[in-house]
């Protein structure tokens, strides 16, 4: 199963619910396109809900980093919500866990973007 993205708006925050596998190829390019589309629409507060991501490889990790820097370069913020143990482990192994703002509760995550 490849990746699936579904975007919803919570206040002024765009929440992308991601499910499936974020791996080299379709999985990582779909995530990249999803973030780019939001940026093109002027969205600067993006919350990636990774709760249903079953698998992520090094390319998928790279897409998270790329998304983070793309949004930051536009003056925005990309944050992560609901990491599975495996995704959290990979971010810790690659020393990226402290780079991202990570939340376990959506309401708290949304509030963290501020007004």
């Amino acid at each position: 199963m490849s990746v699936r993205l579904s975007t919803r708006q919570v206040g002024d925050v765009a929440v992308i619910d991601v499910s499936g596998r974020i791996t080299l190829g379709e999985g990582s390019s779909n995530l990249r396109d999803g973030i780019r589309e939001l940026l093109a629409k002027g969205q600067r507060k993006i919350l990636l809900n990774l709760g249903d991501v079953s698998y992520i490889d090094s390319s998928g990790i790279g897409e998270l980093v790329s998304g983070y820097t793309s949004v930051a370069n536009q003056g925005g913020q990309l944050k992560l919500l609901n990491l599975t143990k495996r995704v959290r482990d990979l971010l810790q192994i690659t020393k990226l866990y402290t780079v991202f703002d990570v939340y376990e509760d959506e309401a708290t995550a949304v509030r963290s973007f501020g007004g």
């Binding site: 791996t23 080299l24 190829g25 490889d57 090094s58 390319s59 990790i61 790279g62 897409e63 980093v65 790329s66 983070y68 820097t69 495996r86 990979l90 192994i93 690659t94 020393k95 990226l96 780079v99």
Partner: protein
């Protein structure tokens, strides 16, 4: 394709196309072998990912998706360890020249974490040049003593 089972050890060999789908097949095979060898679910996952990343490197950086070039996968298992070799027909690379992906100056790079993850997930990792061309990586994962 070849398969050999003797006295508690087994060896699988596959010739894979230079396509990303080959990584899925290799990962599934590796996880099956690890499961049969008695590794727990998390270790199966880590071993599978190490093999997956190795095959991706062979397809993408080694063979550069060239349909005329193949990736060769060999997985040998016994009660002590799993040994994997993945070889390509590419130009090769110097392990020492790869940047450290967790160093501060590289942390925001989009790529370069594959081999780092492989080395994290297996006990031994070696790279050697093949003649006349190609690269072989060797991964070894030992069974944990109970």
């Amino acid at each position: 394709m070849a398969e050999n089972v003797t006295g508690g050890s087994s060896t699988l060999e596959r010739e894979l196309d230079s396509r990303l789908e080959s990584a899925d097949a290799a990962e599934s095979l590796a996880m099956e072998v690890a499961q049969a060898a008695g590794f727990d679910e998390e270790e199966q996952h880590r071993f599978g990912m190490a093999v997956r990343e190795s095959v991706i490197n062979a397809v993408v950086h080694g063979n550069r998706y060239n349909a005329r070039k193949k990736v060769r996968l060999r997985i040998a298992a016994d009660k002590e360890r799993l040994v994997v070799t993945v070889s390509d027909e590419g130009e090769g690379f110097e392990l020492e020249s790869l940047p450290d992906p967790v160093a501060g100056e590289n942390i925001f790079q989009q790529s370069g974490r594959g081999i780092y993850l492989i080395r994290t997930f297996v006990d031994e990792f070696q790279v050697r040049r093949l003649s006349p061309r190609g690269t072989e990586v060797k991964l070894v994962k030992y069974a944990k003593r109970k």
